[in-house]
């Protein structure tokens, strides 16, 4: 298959989704700060969305369902980012730090 035909192939998008997921997983494991972990979680969600859209385009009988699912993933990701960031700000008010290891106590 030529390089220009690659964009019309399901496997290309699946591999991209897997790579995004892997980068997000690496970020979540290695990051020290809570915001860094949140960014990595967004990468994981993006990988999942790319997979959904790829299957939606190439194999699904109803190409609307995957798009709607991706829209809902976006809404959930936005809600998650809002809640997570407000928790991070509250934690920073308590501990003066957003390092995941400094904030080990539940009742500050």
């Amino acid at each position: 298959m030529s390089l220009f035909g690659l964009y019309n192939d399901l496997n290309t998008y699946l591999v991209i989704g897997a790579m995004l997921f892997g980068m997000g997983l690496y970020g979540i494991v290695t990051r020290r700060t809570l915001i860094g972990m949140l960014i990595a979680a967004e990468l994981i969600l993006a990988g999942a969305s790319v997979n959904f859209m790829a299957f939606n385009r190439f194999t699904a009988p109803d190409p609307v369902a995957g798009q709607i699912f991706t829209l809902f993933i976006m809404a959930i990701a936005a809600a998650e980012a809002a809640i997570g960031l407000s928790i991070i700000i509250a934690v920073y008010g308590h501990f003066k730090s957003i390092d995941a290891e400094d904030t080990a106590k539940l009742k500050g």
Binding site: L10, V15, T30, R32, I35, G36, L43, T59, P63
Partner: protein
């Protein structure tokens, strides 16, 4: 587009400063939006740019400015093992998914709708209307909860 997405993702998960990481995230999401455009759905592509680049990335950079982390003190992975272990886990997952994706024969079905913006709107208000209402409630609760939590932290 693939290169933009992957380079952005690499910046997002590897850079030492969080601001650069958010910039990498923006680049990555623009690349993903372009991929959606190639995947025949310009509506989701526009939504990706609006929601992620326009809202989520801006919110994250606000949080970085409000809770300015001490960048000089401790950067890099938390222990010696975290880097290699994280890398091997991520590589294992990526490789596994790639092999799985390439080995499987995905059955192709006949399309029953065209997947246009009009059919998205129709299905969203007929078949998926319950989910639509639920996601609205989830977003409302998330906004109110975020306000309450952030305010409590400030009072203390």
């Amino acid at each position: 587009m693939v290169a933009i997405t992957l380079i952005g993702g690499l910046i997002a998960c590897n850079s030492e400063r969080l601001v650069r990481s958010v910039a990498g995230l923006v680049v990555c999401f623009i690349g993903v939006a372009a991929l959606y455009f190639f995947l025949n759905s310009p509506f989701v592509s526009m939504m990706q740019i609006l929601i992620y680049v326009g809202a989520v990335a801006v919110t994250i950079s606000f949080a970085i400015m409000l809770a300015a982390p001490e960048e000089k003190k401790k950067v890099g992975p938390s222990s010696v093992l975290a880097g290699p272990l994280g890398f091997s886990t991520a590589a294992l997952c990526t490789g596994g998914f790639t092999v799985l994706a390439l080995k499987t024969e995905w059955p192709v079905h006949q399309k029953i709708t065209d997947g246009s913006m009009k059919s998205i709107g129709l299905q969203l208000l007929t078949e998926y209307s319950m989910v639509f209402e639920l996601i609205s409630i989830v977003l409302l609760v998330a906004i109110i909860g975020a306000l309450v939590i952030a305010r409590q932290g400030r009072e203390n």
